[in-house]
C-alpha cells in the first residue's frame, strides 16, 4: 500500500478506482453508470441508490485486498449476494463500494457421511439441495426465493421458509463459516464437530446483515430426505377458528413440517392465478404438511384430519397423490405474485407474533386497512407465528407509497405490542430500521452498536442498516408524537 492509496478520501472515486484496478482484473470493477444500475436495489425495489463502484472478486485474497483498501481509506462496503433480500439490506451507498459475491458459486465439497456440504457464498439455496439429492439428502431452510437467493445472503439474513417450525432457520442448519473482517483477516468460525470452543460467533454472524464481516464460505448441514410427505388442506369459515386449529394440532403432540394459513383475499388471488383447487368460499385455509417415515405420516395424517374436523373445519382434503400435493403448495408458493396481479404494487410485511394473538392482530389490521383505505391480503407461516401481510397499493398515485409504508410500520409496531417482533425472516435492513426503535430501548441499541464495533470499529460494513442510531430514534420518536404530521415532510425518510 503506497502513500497515494492511503490518502484516498471517501467519495474520491477516481483514486479509489485506480487503487482497485491494481487489485482486481479490469472486468471485476464496474464504475460506468450503465454498469452500476443492476446493483441499485435489492428485492425492496422502492429504495434505489447507485453505488460508487461495484467489485466482483473471485478469490479470498481479492476480497481481503479490497477490504483492506476500503478499511485504510475509510470507504464503506456493502456486500451483496443475489440481491433478493426484501428489506433493503444490500442497498448500495453512493460513497461506497458494492462487494458482489456473485462469482463465488462453487460447491467445494459434499460429504454425505458427515452430512455436510462446503459451499461458496454465491451458491443458490436450491442448488445445494439439487446437488446432494443423489445422496438422499437435502438442505432444509427453503426461503420462497430459494431458486435465486444465495447461501451467503441466507446466512446474512438468517433466512427461514415454510419448514422452520420443524427444521429451524439458517442458524440451526450451518456448521462452519469463513468470514473476512473489514481489516482483511480471514476467520474460521465453527468447526467439524457439533459445537465449537468460545463464544457462539456462528449464531452472532447469522442474521448480522453484512454488518460484522463478509461471508466467503459456508458449511451447511444436510438432512436425509423424508421417506414421505403428505399435505392436508382445511377450509374454515372464520379466520380465528383456523388459528385455533393450529394450536390444537400442536397440542395433539404433532409438529408439522409446514403449517401455512391464507386469508380470503390471498386464496382468491392464488386460485385465480394457479388454479390450485382452493375453496373460494372459505374465509381461511390451512395447509398442513406432515413428513417422516411412511408409518409416521400415516399415523399423523389420521390424527391431524381428526383435529381439524373437531376444530370446525368446513372441509378437510388430503392430497390424493404427489401431483395434488404439489398443486396445493403451488398456490401458496405463488401467493405473492398472485396478489401482485390484483394491484399495480404490493408491499410485503414480515412480523412475528405469539400465535394466540392472531385474532387481535387480524382485527387491528382490518381496522388499519380501512383507515388507510389500502387492502391487505394475509399469508401466514401459522406454525411459527410469522405473518406476511401484503398491502396492495399503486406507486403511481402520489403519496400512496408513503402511506403504505406508514401502514406497514403500524403493523410492525402492533406485532411488538402483542409480544412479537418486527421481523421474522426478512431482516431489518433499511426498511424496518425505524421500528427497531420501537422494539429495542436506547441501552439495547447501544449494546448492538458495541457488538458491531467489536468487529468493525469504524463502522464501514453496511453502515446505516439494521441498527438505528439513537439520534435517528429520537427523530422517529418525535415523528410519532405528531402522528401523520411529520415535522419535516420535505426530508427523505428511510
Amino acid at each position: 500500500m503506497n502513500m497515494t492509496e492511503h490518502n484516498i478520501q471517501a467519495g474520491n472515486k477516481v483514486s479509489l478506482l485506480k487503487a482497485l484496478l491494481k487489485l482486481l482484473p479490469e472486468d471485476a470493477v464496474l464504475h460506468e453508470e450503465e454498469d452500476l444500475h443492476p446493483y441499485e436495489c435489492d428485492g425492496l425495489s422502492a429504495y434505489r441508490h447507485l453505488p460508487m463502484i461495484v467489485v466482483l472478486p473471485d478469490t479470498f485474497e481479492q476480497v481481503q485486498a479490497v477490504l483492506r483498501l476500503c478499511y485504510q481509506c475509510e470507504v464503506p462496503v456493502v456486500a451483496r449476494g443475489a440481491g433478493t433480500g426484501l428489506s433493503g439490506g444490500a442497498l448500495p451507498l453512493d460513497n461506497g463500494v458494492l462487494l458482489s459475491l456473485a462469482k463465488f458459486k462453487d460447491i467445494i465439497h459434499i460429504d454425505p457421511k458427515r452430512r455436510i456440504a462446503r459451499v461458496q457464498p454465491g451458491v443458490r439455496n436450491l442448488a445445494i439441495s439439487q446437488a446432494v439429492d443423489q445422496f438422499g439428502l437435502y438442505y432444509a431452510p427453503d426461503p420462497s426465493s430459494q431458486i435465486a437467493c444465495t447461501i451467503g445472503g441466507n446466512v446474512a439474513e438468517n433466512s427461514g421458509g415454510v419448514h422452520c417450525l420443524k427444521y429451524g432457520l439458517t442458524v440451526h442448519n450451518i456448521q462452519q463459516l469463513k468470514i473476512i473482517t473489514i481489516d482483511g483477516e480471514l476467520l474460521t468460525i465453527g468447526g467439524s464437530g457439533l459445537d465449537s470452543a468460545g463464544y457462539d460467533l456462528l449464531a452472532l454472524m447469522t442474521g448480522s446483515e453484512g454488518m460484522l464481516g463478509v461471508i466467503v464460505e459456508v458449511t451447511v448441514k444436510l438432512l436425509p430426505k423424508p421417506e414421505r410427505a403428505q399435505v392436508i388442506l382445511a377450509a374454515f369459515d372464520n379466520v380465528v377458528k383456523a388459528g385455533e386449529a393450529v394450536g390444537n394440532i400442536i397440542s395433539a403432540g404433532i409438529i408439522p413440517a409446514g403449517l401455512e394459513m391464507m386469508d380470503k383475499l390471498a386464496i382468491s388471488a392464488a386460485e385465480d392465478f394457479v388454479h390450485a383447487g382452493y375453496p373460494l368460499d372459505a374465509e381461511a385455509i390451512l395447509l398442513c404438511e406432515l413428513d417422516g417415515t411412511n408409518e409416521e405420516v400415516s399415523e399423523h395424517v389420521a390424527k391431524v384430519r381428526e383435529v381439524l374436523q373437531q376444530s370446525g373445519a368446513t372441509e378437510v382434503r388430503t392430497a390424493k397423490d404427489e401431483a395434488e400435493r404439489l398443486t396445493f403448495w403451488k398456490g401458496r408458493k405463488a401467493a405473492f405474485p398472485a396478489v401482485g396481479r390484483l394491484s399495480p404494487d404490493y408491499y410485503c410485511m414480515d412480523g412475528t407474533i405469539p400465535r394466540k394473538q392472531l385474532p387481535r392482530v387480524l382485527e387491528a389490521m382490518a381496522e388499519l386497512s380501512k383507515d388507510y383505505n389500502l387492502p391487505v391480503a394475509n399469508v401466514f407461516h401459522a406454525g411459527d407465528g410469522n405473518l406476511h401481510p401484503l398491502i396492495l397499493y399503486d406507486a403511481n398515485i402520489p403519496g400512496e407509497l408513503e402511506r403504505t409504508e406508514e401502514f406497514g410500520g403500524k403493523i410492525l409496531e402492533l406485532c411488538v405490542e402483542v409480544g412479537g417482533t418486527i421481523t421474522g425472516e426478512h431482516g431489518v435492513g433499511i426498511e424496518k430500521i425505524n421500528q427497531m426503535c420501537v422494539q429495542f430501548n436506547p441501552l439495547e441499541l447501544t449494546q448492538f452498536h458495541a457488538v458491531k464495533a467489536a468487529f468493525d470499529p469504524q463502522s464501514l460494513l453496511n453502515p446505516g442498516k439494521a441498527v438505528p442510531t439513537l439520534h435517528r430514534c429520537a427523530e422517529f420518536g418525535a415523528m410519532h408524537v405528531h402522528k401523520g404530521e411529520l415535522p419535516f415532510p420535505e426530508l427523505e425518510r428511510f
Binding site: P112, K113, R114, R115, E157, L165, G168, V171, T181, L187, T188, G191, S192, G193, L194, D195, S196, A197, G198, Y199, D200, L201, A203, L204, T206, G207, L212, P226, G247, I250, G253, I255, G292, T293, E295, E296, S298, E299, T352, P354, K356, G385, N386, G419, G420, T421, T423, G424, E425, V428, K432, Q439, F440, L443, E444, Q447, F448, V451, A453, A454
Partner: protein
C-alpha cells in the same frame, strides 16, 4: 418458588462495575467442576426464580434464571412436552440459567439440536449493570444481532442471565432402544449409514463393544424402524440414557481427568487413545468422552488437526480447560468481552484467561 430479584442483582452488578470488583456468578452450583477457576465475590442467582409464562400450544416457556431445571422439566412433562436438548443437571439444584450459560446438551443433541438452538430470547444484566432484553418469545425473530445465542455457552462472561425463553417440543409417543454388539469402527459405520436415512433416531452411544440406538416418535414409526434395523431391545432404557446424561454410568466413575471431545463424527481413532475402554462415544460419534492423563497441549493439538475441540470436563487443574482460540478469533472474543463487560467483572477467566 417465585421471586424477582432483578433489581437487587442489578444493584450488585452496578456496585461491582463502579468498584471494579469481580463477580463469580452461580446458579445451583451443580456444574462447579466445569470451566476455569474464578476467584471473586459470589453473585448467586439461586433466589431469582419462577416460571413467567408457559403456553403449551405456543411451544414456548420463559423462566427466571434461578428456576430449578427439575421444576421446569416437571411442568413441561405435565403437558406432554420437554426440553428437546435433554440437558444434564448433574445434581438436584441445577438451574435453567446455568444450563443455558454452559450450553450443555444431552443424548438427543445430535438429532434435535443443542441448548442454544432452542434459546429464543433472554434478559441479561451486562457488565455495566444495565438490564437488556434480546430475542423474544417467538420462533422466528431476526431483529438485531443474535445476542441471546451469544450468551449460550459464554458461561456468564458476557452477562448475568436474568430470564430465558426456550422453545419446547412435544414428547415422543414411544421410545425404544436397540443394542448391537460390535467394534468401535463398526459402530461408527452403522451410525453413519443410519443417519443418512430418515430413521427416527434420537440418541446413540457406544462403549465396551455395545452400540445403543434410541428410536423416538410415533409408535408405528418406531416399531417399523426397530423391525428394520434389528438388534436386541434394551431393558430400562430410560434409566440408561438418564444415567449417561448425568454421568452416573460406571465409565464416569473414575478420578482420571475426563475430556469432552467434540469433532467430526467419522474420525476413527485418536493418536492419544491408549485403552479403547477409556473412550465413550455419543452423538453418532461427534461427541467423545475420554479419560486420559495426556497433557492439555497434546490433546488440544490433536483436536486442532481434526478441526474439533476438547474441554477438560472433570478432575481437572481448572487452568488449561478449553481449546485455545486462534489469534484472530481471540481478538474478536476480547473485543466482545469489552463490549459487554468493560471492567471485566463478570466471571473473569472462567472461559479463557483473557476474557
Amino acid at each position: 418458588m417465585n421471586a424477582d430479584m432483578s433489581l437487587q442483582l442489578q444493584q450488585r452488578v452496578q456496585n461491582a462495575y463502579e468498584d471494579k470488583t469481580a463477580l463469580a456468578i452461580i446458579g445451583g452450583n451443580s456444574k462447579a467442576f466445569y470451566g476455569r477457576a474464578v476467584t471473586a465475590e459470589t453473585l448467586s442467582l439461586a433466589d431469582h426464580t419462577g416460571v413467567l409464562s408457559y403456553e403449551p400450544t405456543e411451544l414456548v416457556i420463559t423462566a427466571r434464571s434461578g428456576t430449578p431445571l427439575k421444576e421446569i422439566e416437571a411442568l413441561l412433562d405435565q403437558h406432554g412436552q420437554m426440553l428437546p436438548f435433554e440437558p444434564p443437571a448433574f445434581n438436584e439444584d441445577a438451574t435453567i440459567g446455568g444450563t443455558i450459560a454452559c450450553n450443555l446438551s444431552g443424548p438427543r443433541r445430535a438429532y434435535a439440536g443443542a441448548a442454544r438452538d432452542y434459546l429464543l430470547g433472554c434478559k441479561i444484566i451486562n457488565g455495566k449493570g444495565e438490564i437488556l432484553k434480546f430475542g423474544g418469545e417467538v420462533m422466528k425473530n431476526v431483529a438485531g444481532y443474535d445476542v441471546s445465542r451469544l450468551m449460550a455457552g459464554a458461561m456468564g462472561t458476557l452477562g448475568v442471565l436474568l430470564e430465558v425463553s426456550l422453545k419446547v417440543l412435544p414428547k415422543p409417543e414411544t421410545e425404544i432402544t436397540q443394542l448391537f454388539n460390535c467394534s468401535a469402527n463398526e459402530a461408527i459405520d452403522k451410525m453413519h449409514a443410519w443417519s443418512q436415512t430418515p430413521l427416527p433416531i434420537s440418541a446413540t452411544s457406544f462403549h465396551d463393544s455395545v452400540l445403543s440406538v434410541r428410536f423416538s416418535g410415533a409408535t408405528k414409526a418406531v416399531n417399523a424402524a426397530v423391525d428394520n434395523v434389528g438388534g436386541e431391545v434394551m431393558e430400562n432404557a430410560e434409566k440408561y440414557w438418564q444415567d449417561l446424561k448425568e454421568q452416573r454410568l460406571d465409565f464416569f466413575n473414575s478420578d482420571k481427568p475426563l475430556w469432552r471431545l467434540s469433532l467430526a463424527s467419522d474420525i476413527e481413532s485418536l493418536s492419544f487413545e491408549e485403552n479403547p475402554d477409556d473412550t465413550f462415544y455419543e452423538w453418532g460419534g461427534a461427541l467423545r468422552w475420554l479419560k486420559s492423563d495426556e497433557s492439555a497441549e497434546t490433546i488440544h493439538a490433536a483436536m486442532d488437526e481434526f478441526d474439533g475441540h476438547a474441554s477438560l470436563f472433570r478432575h481437572a487443574d481448572k487452568v488449561n480447560v478449553f481449546q485455545p482460540l486462534t489469534p484472530g478469533l481471540m481478538r474478536i472474543h476480547k473485543n466482545l468481552k469489552t463490549a459487554f463487560d468493560p471492567h471485566n467483572i463478570l466471571n473473569p477467566g472462567k472461559l479463557y484467561p483473557e476474557l
